[in-house]
Symmetry: C2
Amino acid sequence: MKTDDQTDDIQAPSKAGWPARYFSVIFTAQRTLSDEDMYSLTSERMVELAQQQPGFLGLESVRGEDGIGITVSYWRDRAAIRAWRIDVEHLAAQQMGRQEFYSWYHIRVAEVVAHRTFDASAAVDSQPDASMYDASGDRDSGDTSS
Amino acid sequence: MKTDDQTDDIQAPSKAGWPARYFSVIFTAQRTLSDEDMYSLTSERMVELAQQQPGFLGLESVRGEDGIGITVSYWRDRAAIRAWRIDVEHLAAQQMGRQEFYSWYHIRVAEVVAHRTFDASAAVDSQPDASMYDASGDRDSGDTSS
């Protein structure tokens, strides 16, 4: 049996060149025991397609042995997420997801308001943004224009 | 060698009882080849401790065979995240993380503005929130009070 473990070989995105504020889609899902080949084909095609969407910034995806996976994709704004959601090929994949691939899933849209990175090889341990854990920060000062 | 794959046995959180708006911390990390037992002990202790924090809502965590993991924790507000960040035991674990456990990581704080769930066993395929993919929604209508 083919192992279901996988991590897409897309590097964890850094902040360089990204807008100060952007959006994430947190997709948490439990795979069924449905055919792995069909799932892999569909999943890989969706990553390829998402990357071509206007406003796509990056993607991180991990699945564990028990079939639970988390995929987080990053987008410039909510309009980009909406456009991706109603892409015709993506709509077909979503239907396959509900009928075949997943026993449950959660999709959360979340606005990224702070980002911190550590990289041992670069000996980088960035200090938190001034706003990072500051609940009193001015929420509207970031670039959230679309 | 002990496999590094794991999914915390905390169910993917549903929306029931959660505030309309809440915050997520998206933690993406690459494990080093450092001792797995010490890492597991620390990791499990941090999950236990996080669950006891005021404002903690839930947690999802997956690690793949290549050592890349994604953990998403959910919090009532940013003040709760800040308090957790500066917890003394957590600070010690963070230092271990940089010195031993991780070759890189990203931490993103993101405000959840929409949530959709599918559950095949319940034949539930919730329609998106009215606001879900609506970039023009009133961003301040949710309960984000702390």
